[in-house]
Point group: C2
Amino acid sequence: MQYDFENPMIAVDLLVFTIADDRLKIVLVERGEDPFKGRLSLPGVFVRKGETLDDAAQRGISEEAGLSDIYFEQLYTWGQLDRDPRRRIISVSYLSLVDCARIHLSAGERTSSAVLYDVEDLLSSDECLAFDHRDIIAYGRERIKNKTEYTRIAFEFLPEEFTLPQLQRVYEILLGRQLYKANFRRKIAPLIEDTQKMTSGDAHRPSRYYRQKPDAE
Amino acid sequence: MQYDFENPMIAVDLLVFTIADDRLKIVLVERGEDPFKGRLSLPGVFVRKGETLDDAAQRGISEEAGLSDIYFEQLYTWGQLDRDPRRRIISVSYLSLVDCARIHLSAGERTSSAVLYDVEDLLSSDECLAFDHRDIIAYGRERIKNKTEYTRIAFEFLPEEFTLPQLQRVYEILLGRQLYKANFRRKIAPLIEDTQKMTSGDAHRPSRYYRQKPDAE
């Protein structure tokens, strides 16, 4: 028996999250062409012949948002039949968490602008995004919560030395909920160490600076 | 500027892990056709027109290993250029963890046999697997370790009521290392509750039966 196998095009779509203005944000672009012309979408490109998925991810974020040398990890591959009105296109999504100091957006070849969007506002609004990109963003946002619970990604958003209120605030933004100070400090204690330095404390009581304990479990 | 985009075929490759004979095992098939005829490989199929990735995963495990109704989660998508000698083929891999009582293997259409293989033996041997399937299996094995640390998957390999030595042994097999009894029991205590039942204890001291605490954090 002979079957028709699928020969889809492969898109790579990029979720670049950062913390800015005390909020979780994501890089989006406004589509400059159909389908979904004028709608917000994730930056992304089609995989070219001779190009790996990882190579396409690097090229995509550079071409669409003017960013380079960003570390990505693969998130999920989206293969619903009707996700693109043109033809069967499978999207491999990639996730990145970036210090906002590294983000200097510029427009790409096929995009009129790249912008930082507030993630919680976006997901609670009825803003219509291109393709299934709302689902992809919601999935990425959940992955960040899980990574925050189980890994040390929160520290990537902080300078080397930080105060406990700064650290707690980053955890709260990434988890999307407020934390009790006493519980938080008990759980975080094994991961950090005292630097023996204090903030100047002009307006407030001085705070102690901590750093990540390098050999913590 | 016009570029040549890739129109690859999409394979779905399936990692079905189980615990049998006190070891972590995986379902492999012997390839019945070239390339890599006669070599061990993961069960897998090409995605057909009109078929989602998840649909293809269910069809693949049924056609290649005679198993059905298995819960899969997507693992990773493999897009190296030279991973298949025929042409560009991108593989979406899926992971499943199954109670070995549910595994009754039969040969598939294009496979001469489906077998349970010892994962640690396989990864430490120089057995040459088809395609990049050794890499995929190694990646899946790491994912299981992580899921064991951070989730409750270990309980899926046990009956509803179990003894602490049984539970510890499942954790050891999934993590691939021995655990200290006292440490293990301290860490696991918040997740389980006493059933008030005891084993008969013919040959040994009787053991207490526990069950998973449904509302544990």
